[in-house]
Symmetry: C2
Subunit: 282 residues, 2 copies
């Protein structure tokens, strides 16, 4: 811990695993929020922290609002640009809801996360138009064109007409908070996680709603807002979901029947398992 | 002021003008941030507060990071919905930059702000595909179809394929912070500003970067990040802008040559001027 106040702290991740320091940082934010209503903790000198939503849910488990964000490697082009220079920089926002799965928005600030490109590549499927551009800045349906010489597009897509500059701006805001404010670095300088010293930065916020209103009232109103939206008129044959609802269903299913894993991934996991001498997965 | 702590406060807007109470709220956030590094101020029982970015810039003028957001009337459909049930709920994030116009992202969480629909309607121009849907949930290029019986679309557009659920989730997050946490109400219940008691809520945050690093270093790194992006390769014939840059240019021009106003708007302003007995605009 390099700096600390009653509601904030800055932690040096010491080039270790992102998950370890991030768990500690969100724990610290939670403690501060319980004591002083707010907890705002930055991390520098870290590596890939896994899933942003996980840290938000740590706060939600303690009946707090939880926000987590992180810099990533540069994989996205800014509006009108064609070079990978900004990150997919995800933001996760979670909050408890009365008698329902928590609200959890966990989003890359690009159109989709890089994982979606990888999945299409593995399946040899074309990507939808609007996810990425090739090296000349043209929209392409070939995942390789995007990942190798092109770039992913910010949320809102190409140009400004559908708000691509908003996704680009959000990505910069995440770099500002998790990269610059934490004294780490911004996406252009974030290295591949295979290399040492990627100097990723993360930013965690926990908010104790009791600073403003009783917890029960907050949770009840969250439920009512969600109910209002879910009861509103849906398009023919469609259902309205709220952020976090699908993830919760997936979790329930997987706790029952297990986690599906691609054969290629399974092979890789087992290769690592043998390397470190633990049991193979079946 | 209903509640107050060292870094936070909740203010009752007393059904007055949104601009008045919001100015006061951001001032308060700024004072707290100067003294205790962070200022987090909610407002309930308010009305339309004008431009979100204005409040962020109040903080930036004091060399702080400034964030402002607000609930709005429901004008947007959630993903797979066809009813106006969530707000255009804007978020503005501003920060000082060394020797350059400030970073200022000021964005509706819908594809475009409602004003853009109004402008197309005034000019009798079709709207671009992807801004809104008609009453059956089909994408339309008719602004009236959207504004009267249809709905605006969240950032990311229709469905989930290009991330429409992200704009929808961001809109809900803004409702959560500025509507529910402030003890105001969420967009479904926000009334037209012509009616009394719209009970709009706003949420303001000021961050003193000195909590984490020296101000000069922060501003220099912001400049370097922006410079890296602006120097990256642009698409043929295009220029890369950063959030806030275009607005700054517009302001400079207008300070020199004045603000263009539509004749219809000018007539309305002058009708009001006569009503209240002040000089007409020419």
């Amino acid at each position: 811990v390099e700096r600390e106040g009653s509601v904030h702290a800055l932690i040096d991740g010491d080039e270790g695993l992102g998950q370890v320091v991030s768990h500690k940082a969100m724990k610290m934010a939670i403690e501060k929020a319980k004591k002083n209503y707010f907890g705002i903790v930055g991390v520098r000198n870290s590596n890939h922290f896994g899933i942003a939503g996980h840290y938000s849910l740590m706060a939600v488990d303690e009946d707090l609002i939880g926000i987590a964000m992180t810099t990533t490697r540069p994989l996205v082009a800014p509006t009108w640009g064609i070079e990978k220079i900004i990150g997919t920089n995800p933001i996760a926002i979670g909050a408890p809801v009365e008698n329902m799965p928590p609200f959890l928005l966990d989003m890359a600030t690009s159109v989709v996360s890089t994982g979606k490109f990888e999945m299409h590549r593995r399946k040899n499927k074309p990507i939808p138009e609007g996810w990425g551009i090739d090296k000349d800045g043209n929209v392409t349906t070939n995942a390789d064109d995007v990942l190798i010489e092109g770039a992913e597009l910010p949320l809102g897509g190409i140009g400004e007409i559908l708000g691509g500059h908003k996704g680009y701006g959000l990505s910069m805001a995440v770099d500002m908070l998790s990269g610059i404010l934490t004294n780490a670095t911004w996406s252009k300088w974030v290295k591949n996680t295979d290399e040492k010293n990627s100097n990723l930065g993360h930013f965690f916020i926990a908010i104790n709603v009791e600073a403003f209103l009783p917890l029960d009232e907050f949770k009840r109103k969250m439920k009512e807002m969600i109910r209002d939206i879910k009861r509103s008129k849906a398009a023919e044959g469609k259902k309205i979901w709220y952020p976090g609802e699908k993830g919760e269903l997936t979790m329930e299913t997987r706790l029952k029947i297990g986690i599906p894993v691609y054969n290629k991934v399974l092979e890789e996991i087992n290769r690592i398992a043998e390397d470190v001498g633990v049991e193979r997965l079946k």
